[in-house]
Symmetry: C2
Subunit: 181 residues, 2 copies
């Protein structure tokens, strides 16, 4: 990937070519999925694992779409992703853009260049969402819920398909009253 700008431009052109749905309806549907899982599994740690599992199968599917659309648009990712920095840029600037219409930022590379963070300014999954506070009934349990854990599974599943085995976690989440995710 030559410059940050080119990944962002590529993301924009992929996004404009995709069929779209209302993102609020998407958020409400995702909310229904999380609600069902919370109802079924009760333990939020298990719900997080299920969201990751579901995300993984979505990611496996999405990456095919992503690679074929990127290929059609003349962006050969095989030559563009030479190292993890390139991959991070493509995930954040092209992947998030193509599927959610948002652009994510990359930062926090570790010294050994083997880990990094992705920052979302907007989180379309969490529109309308408020998690119950500590003081509310049931709130204690849901503090451990990673509401948007689907993202982790999607990234893990998508990268696995291109032979990159990664671990992915949500470190911060504005739903829990912190600045960004």
């Amino acid at each position: 990937m030559s410059t940050k700008k080119s990944a962002a431009q590529a993301g924009q052109s992929l996004w404009s070519a995709m069929p779209k749905a209302n993102s609020e309806l998407f958020a409400l549907t995702y909310g229904s999925l999380v609600t069902e899982l919370v109802r079924d599994y009760e333990d939020p740690i298990e719900v997080n694992a299920q969201l990751d599992r579901i995300g993984h199968s979505i990611g496996v599917r999405c990456v095919d779409e992503f690679l074929s659309k990127a290929d059609v648009a003349g962006m050969s990712l095989a030559t563009q992703c030479q190292n993890l920095r390139d991959t991070a840029e493509v995930v954040a600037k092209m992947g998030f853009k193509m599927f959610l219409g948002i652009q994510a930022e990359v930062g926090g590379f570790s010294q050994d260049q083997r880990s990094f963070s992705i920052y979302l300014q907007d989180n379309p999954l969490a529109t309308f969402v408020e998690l119950p506070g500590d003081e509310q009934s049931g709130g204690d349990d849901l503090r451990r819920l990673k509401y948007s854990n689907l993202y982790c599974g999607v990234i893990r599943g998508a990268l696995e398909q291109v032979n990159l085995k990664v671990e992915c976690n949500i470190v911060r989440d504005t739903l829990k009253g912190r600045r960004s995710e």
Copy 2:
């Protein structure tokens, strides 16, 4: 509603103002929800009921969004919906357009004007979906699944909020090898 064209135009302008997500990601997320419900409830009749219930709460939420956006755009629905024919047009041409970017057609009014059909040429919920055939293992059960039953709940919930009590069912579905839904 004066003409069909005006509902369609209003729908188009509402749609263009909405925040959007990739409709394939939406379809995959909805598919995950249906899969969870099938896993939990097993009986497809119960899954249909759950999809209707979830749709109902989404519809209750969506109609607020719809009315406020329509109001902002200067389309006063209170004066436009004088009878069920008007309502049908608004649901099909504005509602489906605003939330899914597709336009639906209205037809099949009963003689007493108390029932009608909505036809979708595309069904964004069912992208990538294939239901197992009769001959496949487990196929027997899923024949009774109404995969897109969320729509019925959404319509029922949304209209309930404007004091219209309706029944809504999926009559035909291309997923089951018939022409349209």
